[in-house]
Symmetry: C2
Subunit: 201 residues, 2 copies
């Protein structure tokens, strides 16, 4: 039975993500991969090119999904707090569903070179920009107090990004609940001290 | 000229941390390490044992420093907000100074096995407990609102732990300023809504 081209490729990507997440990108040889997917080197190269191309596909797949999702969210929510809450739910949901891919991404995307590395860094910057826009616009509107440095937002993003380390799909609380909890902390944490609620212009 | 035993070992650990941080633990061979430190395998084994022992030493060295620091801070500050601020400054300072070691730690400590892995996990738990104690005691005293789940604190710790990714020693703002900024966000974020300042009850 011949698998369709795409599902064959998906199967290879998943097996590679599992191996890379467990042993690290540099710790996995092509022969290990051949064995895991039951394909010979020629067939493997046909589907995915070389090992770095595989790391690239894994590192970039969910990041692309998140960039697209962030753009939709930015367009859909004009209220900055709502926008941040939606971005938070989307990323935690995705990390819980694709923990392997994010583990590979965060641990090893730096092993990429040239065009591929530039592409990943560019997508990461695009994704971060959606969050930064929400924070900056919210600050300009007086919803949030102004921060001494954008590094504050790096830290906030870290709360979400780093979750691939401890995220447990079978966890006691849903990712939406976690996202809401994080946002409750962050949003009350960055609100100007005088704003106790209600709309003061 | 013969280097003292300890400085020889420190030199090896630093070279290994640099190589592991760049290529990943699994991506570095013993021969690469021999070349980097200018020692033959026999001498290398004499100083550090095998490659996993090296990963263990690197993963554990700053974590041990932080566990000790956290215990001192916990004993020194009875006020929970002050304690959290001190823990925050200490970890960010240490990550900035030992970014290589933390990169290796976070990326590859899972490659450790048996006793060594248990030891690292135990130290991590001890370190986290210092933070959790501050949050839990502060909550019990009514300084902080109670959280639906301890996962909230995982996220807060993630703000700090994940900083090894973006931390830049030559950054525009000092690590103390960053720690204070993060704490301003977190502490106002977890304060009970009615507490606008001043001592009630």
């Amino acid at each position: 039975m011949v698998l369709r081209e795409t599902s064959q490729k998906e199967r290879i990507l998943h097996a590679a993500a599992e191996l890379f997440a467990r042993h690290g990108y540099h710790g996995v040889g092509m022969s290990q991969l051949e064995k895991a997917v039951g394909l010979q080197r020629g067939a493997l190269y046909h589907h995915i090119g070389n090992k770095e191309a595989l790391l690239y596909e894994i590192s970039v797949s969910q990041l692309r999904v998140m960039v697209e999702s962030a753009q939709k969210i930015s367009a859909a929510f004009s209220d900055e707090e709502e926008r941040i809450r939606a971005l938070a739910r989307a990323i935690l949901r995705n990390i819980a569903e694709h923990r392997l891919e994010w583990t590979v991404h965060y641990r090893d995307f730096n092993a990429l070179t040239g065009e591929r590395l530039r592409d990943v860094l560019d997508l990461r910057a695009q994704y971060e920009r959606a969050w930064l826009d929400a924070f900056h616009t919210g600050t300009a509107k007086g919803l949030f107090r102004s921060m001494a440095d954008d590094v504050a937002f790096k830290g906030i993003l870290g709360m979400f990004n780093y979750s691939y380390v401890w995220m447990d799909q079978s966890g006691r609380v849903s990712t939406d609940t976690i996202a809401d909890m994080f946002c409750d902390i962050i949003l009350s944490g960055i609100r100007p001290p005088q704003a106790v609620g209600g709309s003061s212009a």
